[in-house]
């Protein structure tokens, strides 16, 4: 067993035994050795004395050469048991007399007298000494002792020493086995206590303190530690209980929250459902509202013209009022629809690149009637080299139109100015449109919810100035849609400044949307020489529309062929090969999209421009499928006239050289005409005036 792993008890005993044993052995051995050495010394002294006496006694005998006398003198040594031999040498080294102890064996003697003095030779002590007579040497004496006293003394000592060590060791063992308990007892007790604590995990146990020494203090410390642990244990239990309570509470809370969130989710679903229902309702309503409005506006326009020709001035004015009210209603419906589309996130962007200056000029021209109404003058400041911008031109136009018409509306005999410039900010080009008026202005309170829907600056304003109160809200959302912004600065009575900041290059919200690239300026030419340049095919299941279109277009000098269904339309298209096809979308059996698809799929008919005329607001789809223009009912007749005229001119002028391009363009994807007009723009324009050429 390893010495280090011995128990404390054994270690203490071992230490005590070793220490006391070592002390006893060392001290007694030292004492004995000292005694033996000094005894040896005294032995040699004795022998020297002996030699002196013998020498003195034998000196005369030697001097007078009396051998027998010398022998007698030496024989006196018989009484000394330890002296085994004695020799007298003459001065010249010869043996003069000799003596050997009777008990000693015969022996040889050292031949010549050697160095004087004593020496230990083996187990013998030898002495050489000069024999002198009156100080004059007469010979040498040799004495040899076997030191038997010393040997017996050493033996006796060894015995005493061994028994002494054994007895003292025994007593030390006895005493240390009793005394070690003083130290090992408390430690063993402490160990027992610790084992008990760790086995039973009960911290109420305390170790007993025996003495006030280090171990006593250790036990005190251990007890303090136990007390601390007990305390902590209690606190921990308490905290644990509390935690459990809290956890339960929390779990209850979580269940509650879950239920709440479930309810909230349900509510959200309900709200979404409601919203969807609202959107569906609005869409339905718009369709339902537009169809009768279509008839009202269309027929009132027809009637107005006819009445005008007949010279019934009063009737004309009444008809104009009907027309105006209808158009206002239409504008309202359109705004509400736009707003709901924006809210629902269904408003897409149709990005195209266009020149800014012509757009502004066209805009200003359009505004002319509104300007003259309140006797306002307009100033247009266009920065040089405005260049092009890429944006949804319809929406840009609508924003500016809203701002400008508002400016006209709220300014009387004042000046309205339009400033357009290009600036750079954060590595991007921005186009800044600024509309300034000297009108009634807006106060701070009004400014706060200026861009909120259905809020005009004042309720009274609606009565006084009219309007839907949706224009700015829509403009604001359009600007945001194109990642731009609108700001207003105004003081009541001081006029207002509206600033629109749009990126020169608007990036689409989601790439790969339905909008198509529109860079090609190549006009689509008809490959068909036999095209009837004065025939227009109207495809619509609504007889009112067919009737109105026929009457309007005939008036413009076109020959109109009407089809009541898609199949009929396709058949007629092949028969007459018209200049333009106007196409409705919602028709029984074969809808407008299908017809458009088939038209574009047929190489003979693919070149015929198709103008969508519908209540369905999905121009993206129309352009995707290859429509040239998209008008939304009720149709702005002036707009329609312009479009048809444009197509007529294009096709007739390109007929001659069309052949050259025909082949290369045959397989090209259906192109939309440059600078196409959208129905929505047309609609908004329609609020006040026809587009300006």
């Amino acid at each position: 067993m390893n010495l280090k792993d011995l128990s404390i008890k054994r270690k203490l005993m071992l230490i005590t035994m070793l220490t006391s044993g070592l002390a006893v052995v060392l001290s007694s051995a030292g004492l004995l050795i000292y005694d033996l050495i000094s005894f040896r010394q005294s032995l040699s002294q004795d022998l020297m004395t002996q030699a002196e006496i013998i020498g003195y006694n034998s000196a005369a005998a030697m001097a007078f050469k009396d051998e027998s006398a010398a022998t007698v003198t030496l024989s006196a040594l018989q009484a000394k048991d330890d002296i085994v031999s004695a020799v007298l040498y003459t001065r010249d080294g010869k043996i003069f007399a000799q003596y050997v102890h009777t008990k000693a064996s015969a022996r040889t003697f050292p031949a010549p007298p050697q160095e004087r003095g004593y020496r230990f030779e083996g187990s013998y002590l030898e002495v050489f000494r000069d024999v002198t007579l009156n100080g004059e040497p007469v010979g040498t004496l040799f004495l040899q002792s076997d030191m038997r006293q010393w040997n017996s003394r050493a033996k006796r000592y060894a015995t005493i020493f061994l028994s002494f060590v054994m007895i003292s060791g025994f007593f030390a063992l006895l005493v240390s086995s009793k005394l070690q308990k003083l130290i090992s007892g408390p430690i063993l007790h402490l160990e027992d206590t610790m084992r008990m604590v760790s086995a039973t995990k009960s911290y109420e146990v305390r170790a007993t303190k025996f003495y006030g020494d280090e171990i006593g203090r250790l036990i005190d410390g251990f007890n303090t530690m136990l007390a601390e642990i007990q305390h902590r244990d209690g606190a921990l239990h308490h905290a644990n209980d509390e935690l459990q309570t809290r956890t339960l509470e929390l779990e209850g809370e979580i269940v509650h929250r879950k239920e709440m969130s479930k309810e909230l989710l349900n509510a959200k679903h309900a709200a979404e459902d409601a919203n969807r229902a609202k959107s569906a309702f609005l869409a339905n309503m718009s369709h339902e509202l537009r169809t009768p409005l279509n008839a009202i506006i269309g027929y009132s326009e027809m009637l107005e013209e006819e009445t005008h020709e007949l010279g019934k001035v009063e009737s004309v004015k009444d008809l104009q009022k009907i027309q105006k009210a209808g158009k206002h209603l239409l504008a309202l419906i359109n705004d509400v629809l736009d707003l709901s589309k924006i809210e629902a996130g269904r408003m897409g962007l149709h990005l195209e690149t266009f020149e800014i200056s012509p757009m502004i000029e066209e805009m200003v021209a359009t505004l002319h009637p509104a300007l003259s109404k309140n006797s306002n003058t307009i100033q247009v400041h266009l920065a040089e080299e405005l260049g092009v911008m890429r944006a949804d031109i319809t929406k840009v136009r609508q924003i500016l139109f809203n701002l400008l018409s508002n400016a006209c509306k709220f300014t009387d005999h004042g000046t309205i100015s339009v400033d357009v410039n290009r600036s750079k900010d954060q590595g991007e080009d921005w186009i800044r449109f600024q509309v300034t008026d000297s009108g009634i202005g807006i106060n701070a309170k009004q400014k706060a919810n200026l861009f909120q829907e259905f809020t005009q600056a004042d309720v009274s304003i609606a009565r006084k100035y009219g309007g839907t109160g949706l224009g700015l809200a829509i403009s604001y959302r359009y600007a945001r849609l194109m990642k731009g912004r609108i700001a207003v600065e105004s003081e009541p009575g001081q006029g207002s400044v509206f600033t629109v900041l749009l990126p020169a290059k608007v990036t689409p919200e989601i790439t790969g949307t339905t909008q198509a690239e529109k860079t090609s300026d190549v006009l689509v030419a008809s490959s068909e020489m036999k095209s009837n340049l004065d025939t227009i095919l109207v495809i619509d299941d609504d007889s009112v529309v067919r009737d109105l279109m026929s009457r309007f277009l005939t008036k413009l000098g076109f020959h109109v062929v009407a089809a009541a269904s898609g199949e009929e339309g396709l058949r007629l298209a092949k028969q007459v090969n018209p200049l333009v096809v106007t196409l409705d979308v919602i028709m029984p059996d074969c809808d407008g999209w299908a017809v458009l698809n088939q038209l574009k799929a047929d190489p003979e008919l693919a070149e015929i421009p198709v103008i969508m005329v519908t209540v369905v607001d999905n121009e993206s789809m129309g352009f995707e499928l290859g429509a040239s223009s998209y008008l939304i009912k009720p149709v702005d007749r002036d707009r329609l006239a312009v479009l048809i005229e444009k197509h007529r001119l294009t096709r007739s002028s390109t007929v001659v050289d069309a052949k050259a391009f025909a082949a290369s363009l045959r397989n090209a994807s259906p192109k939309k005409e440059n600078g196409r007009e959208k129905g929505k723009a047309t609609r908004n324009d329609g609020k006040t005036a026809a587009p300006v050429k």
């Binding site: 003195y56 006694n57 000196a59 005369a60 005998a61 001097a63 007078f64 050469k65 009396d66 006398a69 003459t90 001065r91 010249d92 010869k94 007579l133 009156n134 004059e136």
Partner: protein, 195 residues
């Protein structure tokens, strides 16, 4: 008588020569009987104490007188030549027989040679009361009142001591010397008559 003495002398000489071969002499170069005797005389001086009055001064030499024919040759002179005992040196002188012993009286040791054996009694008489160690070479010298005289035992030189005579001469002889000597008493009758 003379013939006997001569004979003795011769045998002594022979035996001394024989002895010298087996027992070491004092001087290895001269091993005769008288060589040994000369050494003995020197050793006697060591073991005998004189009264302080015997010397005129503390460092006065011990004077050895040889009465009669000198048997030592120069041996005795040689042996004691550089020796000292208790700070005293030695002086050897030859003295002649005379009535008043004028030369003899300042000696400390007086060796009475064999040649003077006729005058032993008168010499002893004359020396009586004086602190002079008398050593005789003739047999019976001590018995006749001398202090020491040489003898031969088994061809070995031994000696006799007359303790009484020494006391009279106020000399102290060491017990160590005495243990080796043959102690003799003074004969009551006249020595010459008995011989």
């Amino acid at each position: 008588m003379r013939k006997v003495g001569l004979l003795i002398v011769i045998t002594c000489l022979l035996s001394a020569m024989a002895m010298g071969s087996h027992a070491a002499g004092v001087d290895s170069s001269d091993s005769s009987e008288y060589l040994i005797k000369a050494g003995f005389i020197y050793n006697f001086a060591k073991l005998v104490e004189w009264p302080t009055t015997a010397f005129p001064q503390p460092d006065s030499p011990i004077v050895i007188g040889i009465l009669g024919t000198d048997p030592f040759g120069g041996t005795l002179d040689r042996i004691v030549a550089d020796k000292k005992i208790d700070g005293r040196g030695f002086a050897v002188k030859r003295v002649k027989w005379s009535k008043d012993f004028k030369d003899v009286k300042d000696c400390n040791i007086l060796f009475v040679s064999l040649s003077e054996k006729e005058h032993i009694d008168s010499v002893v008489e004359a020396m009586k009361g004086l602190p002079i160690l008398t050593i005789g070479d003739a047999p019976g010298f001590a018995k006749r009142g001398g202090i020491i005289n040489f003898t031969l035992e088994d061809n070995k030189v031994r000696f006799e001591v007359n303790v009484e005579a020494a006391k009279h001469a106020d000399l102290t002889i060491s017990s160590r010397l005495l243990t080796l000597a043959t102690i003799v008493q003074q004969a009551a009758a006249d020595g010459r008559k008995s011989e």
